[in-house]
């Protein structure tokens, strides 16, 4: 059905290898022949068969992106940017959604391994040792988790979180709750570290509560604990948790930011639309996607790229309530 090298060769009166070279080693064929062949190929609508090419070159021209949950608004901008960059570099992109399950993740990597030149693992859930085993099968770039010796793209949530603590301190908050997510989360750990260090610098106390699931339900569930530690501001593990906290506050008649300031992480679209709009730490997800693809295709080795984050101030943060004790 499809036009092959052989067809072009036959019609053009040359050998298949000449046609092949016209595409992949142009300097090895007579300019006149090359033009003739290329023109003919164009007219016939010839497209190289990538599977066949892969067989002989062991390079597929494909990439894969493995994410925990595409429906989570954090991922699509990353996938989009990665796909776009891959296209610029003439590669196609497989997508695999693991549904947050480590074993599905591993199986996805193994089954994709033979069909790609490399994989981008975003926030992988599998244990470190497993990931290292997988990295021996197929080139890997890890996003959002640090693994020594493997190429990683990290988003330094620390900067943004530190900024948030500074902002809150400036607004007079003395007690900040930090709602943590899954213990395995690299982002969560570095956020906690950054919060602690910024707190030392600026004065307020940071009360860690949790872990809670990184969902709205988790946020709602965390509200009680946040109130219990006497916090006037809360740093949520991510935007979803922050939204859950906002909903819980609304339900209980606690005004935001009047009585409680809330800060999220991720800057998902919902952060802009909820009321009050959510102050949050924006992650450079698009940059991360592009950087991951460049790392994979650039063959730059094990380099680690660290990208900055920034605080986006919206309506969910405000001056600390004057406390009765102070009045």
């Amino acid at each position: 059905m499809a036009v092959t090298l052989k067809d072009v060769a036959r019609i053009g009166g040359v050998h298949v290898s000449t046609v092949s070279r016209a595409f992949s080693a142009p300097h090895l064929v007579n300019p006149a022949t090359r033009e003739r062949v290329l023109a003919l190929a164009r007219d016939l609508g010839y497209r190289p068969n990538r599977a066949a090419r892969a067989l002989s070159t062991r390079r597929t021209g494909n990439l894969g992106v493995v994410v925990a949950d595409i429906a989570n608004p954090f991922f699509p901008p990353l996938v989009k940017a990665a796909q776009e960059r891959a296209r610029e570099r003439d590669h196609h992109v497989f997508i695999a959604d693991t549904d947050e399950q480590a074993d599905v993740e591993e199986e996805a990597v193994r089954s994709l391994a033979g069909q790609v030149d490399g994989l981008v693992l975003v926030s992988p859930r599998a244990p470190e040792q497993r990931i290292r085993e997988l990295a021996a099968q197929v080139p890997l770039v890890i996003v959002n988790r640090r693994l020594r010796g493997l190429p990683c793209v990290l988003m330094d949530v620390g900067r943004g979180v530190g900024g948030a603590v500074a902002l809150l301190a400036g607004l007079g908050h003395r007690d900040i709750a930090l709602v943590s997510g899954p213990a395995a989360s690299w982002t969560g750990r570095s956020a906690a570290r950054a919060a602690a260090s910024a707190a030392r610098e600026h004065g307020p106390r940071v009360h860690r509560v949790g872990p809670y699931p990184p969902t709205e339900e988790g946020g709602a569930a965390a509200f009680g604990a946040v109130a219990a530690v006497g916090a006037t501001a809360v740093l949520a593990h991510n935007d979803l948790v922050a939204l859950g906290l906002l909903a819980a506050a609304r339900d209980r008649g606690v005004p935001v930011p009047g009585r409680l300031s809330v800060v999220g992480v991720d800057d998902t679209p919902a952060a802009r639309h909820t009321r009050p709009a959510l102050t949050t730490v924006a992650m450079p997800t698009g940059d991360a996607g592009r950087a991951a693809v460049d790392l994979l295709l650039g063959g730059a080795g094990a380099g680690t790229v660290t990208l900055g984050t920034r605080l986006v101030e919206r309506g969910s943060t405000g001056p600390a309530p004057s406390r009765p004790a102070q009045a």
Copy 2:
């Protein structure tokens, strides 16, 4: 590097064709040999090379999903469901983001064609004639657009929109604005048809305004026209447009739903989080993704699947304001 059929055959003391058959035509090999070979293959970690298999069978085990913009919250649930279903059926999924450009879309289809068993085109932008040409190259399933003779998956926005008109009529609204999106949109056209027909049945007038871009900015821009036609309720082309209308209403001090009721289409996450929460028509995007994959792999031919939609009532709709003329 990777283990091949040949390796398994050599170590197992049988011919490659026997190993091949142990996998793809088990009934043709002696049960004892088969078990032995399969066990050996497992131990060696053998994985069939899909590219090589594709070369000889002309079936790749891959699918592609082509979307206009993955970052648009409408698409990820569809992609997720499609990917999941494809995995169940042992297929991998390519993703292509066309950035809303018809020519990128076409190029994506052409360049993916050789590497997949079929493609799912979601809300394709290319002209009908082009799509038909592409369908001759590679099996296509179209989602969200009707093309006679091609397998399509449609989400019958009509049901939901009709429900919205009925709801509004029941709340006493007599003048409903319909903010339309791109003229080429099949969804938009059927929404308009359904609104008109429901209006005839339930009484209110429908005033069509637009077209406006299907974005928040578009919604904000449409506000003036909506007010100008004297509408007390508005059906937006999609949730983004509805959010833009909500923002514009807020800016102008028009209370929602007190003075204006707003209905969106898509039920994106932001619809739940904005205040007032948005009444909207929920699309069965997950079902659509699964149906598209089933259509592609089931070889069911040109069947068209139509899925229902339902109205999700939230806070942005309420009783029509009592008008001075009536008082």
